[in-house]
């Protein structure tokens, strides 16, 4: 058995996986996409769980409130014109809107209590607030969170202010969100937006001084919590390299991406991995066609093919991209995968005869190819 053991070990030494640099790069790129996809799915699952818990909680609360209407109502305090006490749970504003305030959150209503106008201006100093806003005219109910301005008509939403970011999540209705001179966006029910690197508006300090005349305000001096005044926002490239593809996409202007393969490929990754595959097409095409001498051009063409095939459902253009991959690196290590994918694309596009001919070419060139089972199916197709 000793000799046999040596034989086995000697034979086993030949069992090795050989990946070329491009294959390794492809695997890595695909791995990154897989990880990002799983993270998205995980977040979605968490959100779903949260929604289910919220629905169950709301149902239980409604049932409980129905059973004991007087005793179980939350203790809603009127908070007009004053800084909120330290750890309240719920408030009712003078217009009837309700606020649920997380622990350690600070906020104030900037409109004086005696003001007869229907305008309500809420300032979130820190922490999370959930607002159930009664119907208003557009522009009457506004929430200021640092630089971010949220205009509400009648809705339920949550705003949260942390050290370096502001997030707005809408449960019902629709809100208008803007920051500084940026174009406003509208968030619908179920949507959420996060603003990274916000800064306090200079006007806020003056307003806070004005409001601080209320007796309770002494406990929360505005100067004690200065918001950052100048935060350097990370570039889309930096965000992309950190794997924050959604945030990177928010900052990415595809038309102004530098015409260098590295940036174009990164921009394509940001678009793909943030769920905007159609936006990845243009930068990938630019690398593959206008930088065909670059060693990454074939990779760009291959990725373009995958985007067309797997994400945009366009097998005809996918086949063209895979053909381009092969022509860019005729003897390269990606040829086998590109050929197999081209077969698959042609078959999906209904080009059965072309797919069959190409499948035969694959089998003759790569009899031991890793995709032979898949390709064989197309070669044998009637």
């Amino acid at each position: 058995m000793n000799a046999r053991g040596t034989q086995i070990a000697d034979a086993g030494r030949h069992l090795q996986v050989h990946w070329g640099p491009e294959q390794l790069m492809l695997l890595e790129s695909s791995l990154v996409a897989k990880v990002a996809r799983q993270a998205r799915q995980r977040r979605l699952a968490q959100l779903s769980t949260l929604v289910v818990v919220a629905v169950l909680g709301a149902s239980t609360w409604l049932l409980y409130r129905g059973a004991a209407p007087a005793a179980s109502k939350p203790n809603l305090a009127s908070a007009s014109g004053a800084v909120a006490p330290r750890n309240p749970t719920a408030f009712r504003l003078r217009d009837g809107s309700k606020l649920e305030v997380s622990e350690n959150a600070d906020w104030l209503e900037r409109t004086p209590a005696a003001d007869p106008s229907p305008h309500v201006d809420i300032e979130v100093l820190r922490g999370r607030l959930r607002l159930s806003v009664v119907p208003h005219q557009p522009g009457e109910f506004r929430i200021h969170v640092g630089e971010v301005l949220v205009e509400v008509i009648g809705t339920v939403l949550t705003v949260e202010r942390q050290a370096h970011e502001v997030s707005v999540a809408v449960e019902h209705g629709r809100v208008r969100v803007s920051r500084g001179t940026e174009a406003p966006t509208f968030l619908q029910a179920g949507e959420r937006r996060t603003f990274v690197g916000h800064a306090a508006r200079p006007a806020l300090a003056r307003d806070l001084k004005h409001v601080a005349s209320a007796p309770e305000a002494a406990s929360v001096p505005p100067a004690a919590r200065p918001a950052p005044t100048s935060l350097r926002e990370p570039s889309w490239q930096a965000l992309a390299r950190d794997g924050e593809y959604a945030a990177a996409y928010g900052k990415l202007h595809l038309d102004s991406v530098a015409d260098v393969p590295g940036d174009l490929l990164l921009a394509a990754d940001v678009a793909r991995l943030s769920g905007h595959p159609a936006q990845a097409v243009k930068p990938l095409q630019r690398v593959a066609r206008e930088h065909s001498a670059d060693p990454r051009a074939a990779l760009a063409a291959f990725t373009l093919g995958r985007v067309y095939l797997e994400e945009l459902g366009n097998p005809r253009d996918a086949a063209t991209a895979f053909r381009l991959t092969r022509s860019l690196q005729p003897g390269g290590p990606m040829v086998e995968s590109a050929l197999a994918r081209e077969v698959e694309s042609l078959a999906r596009a209904g080009e059965t005869q072309k797919a069959q001919a190409l499948a035969q070419e694959y089998l003759s060139r790569f009899p031991n190819g890793s995709k032979r089972k898949l390709v064989q199916r197309h070669a044998d197709a009637p």
């Binding site: 058995m1 000793n2 046999r4 053991g5 040596t6 034989q7 086995i8 070990a9 000697d10 034979a11 086993g12 030494r13 030949h14 069992l15 090795q16 996986v17 050989h18 990946w19 390794l24 695997l27 890595e28 695909s30 791995l31 990154v32 897989k34 990880v35 799983q38 031991n368 890793s370 089972k373």
Partner: protein, 183 residues
């Protein structure tokens, strides 16, 4: 079987352990350890088709736990543990699918063993056919010991079982392999 009786296969992993600053992210870890994980996976499964997929699964799992590793030197062993676990699961799935006639017996004629002589290739094919009949756990332990050349203690760590269990599993697979090679 005494360990000294085997000519052990050298590990394809890097000789020196990485320092923490060398491995800044998943990409670095993947580039450094993918060939090592690929070799383990190929030797356990015996088939090249699924290696890429499984290696990716190993690193996807690694992505969630990488930050929690205190010792960068432990990455290699930890990846091997994950690879072993996923390969065992995959072998069990194949076994079930074959039992349910959803899948045919695997064909080892196209073993990815460049440089192997025809005799060595035949030997490997006979071994993997025999191992198809072995329980997944026994197959994994046997391959790690006889093909990968790992120490029994290391195998116990990789398979998360006791030393006695490892020996029992290797013996189970060994009987099948010896039977196949004797005929």
């Amino acid at each position: 079987m005494p360990r000294s009786s085997l000519s052990l296969v050298p590990s394809p992993a890097p000789a020196s352990a990485p320092r923490a600053q060398e491995l800044s992210g998943l990409g670095d870890v993947f580039r450094r350890y993918a060939p090592y994980v690929g070799a383990i996976t190929l030797r356990i499964l015996g088939q090249r088709d699924e290696v890429d997929d499984l290696v990716q699964d190993v690193f996807v799992e690694a992505a969630t736990g990488l930050d929690q590793l205190r010792e960068p030197e432990a990455i290699r062993g930890w990846l091997a543990c994950v690879a072993v676990r996923l390969c065992t699961r995959r072998l069990r799935l194949h076994k079930f699918r074959r039992w349910a006639t959803l899948e045919q017996q695997p064909n080892y004629d196209q073993l990815e063993a460049p440089g192997a002589s025809p005799e060595q290739r035949l030997l490997l094919v006979q071994i993997y056919r025999a191992l198809d009949a072995a329980p997944a756990n026994a197959r994994v332990a046997w391959v790690l010991r006889m093909v990968d050349g790992e120490a029994l203690e290391t195998i116990a760590t990789r398979c998360r079982c006791s030393l006695a269990t490892v020996k029992r599993r290797i013996a189970t697979a060994q009987l099948l392999v010896e039977g196949a090679l004797a005929t």
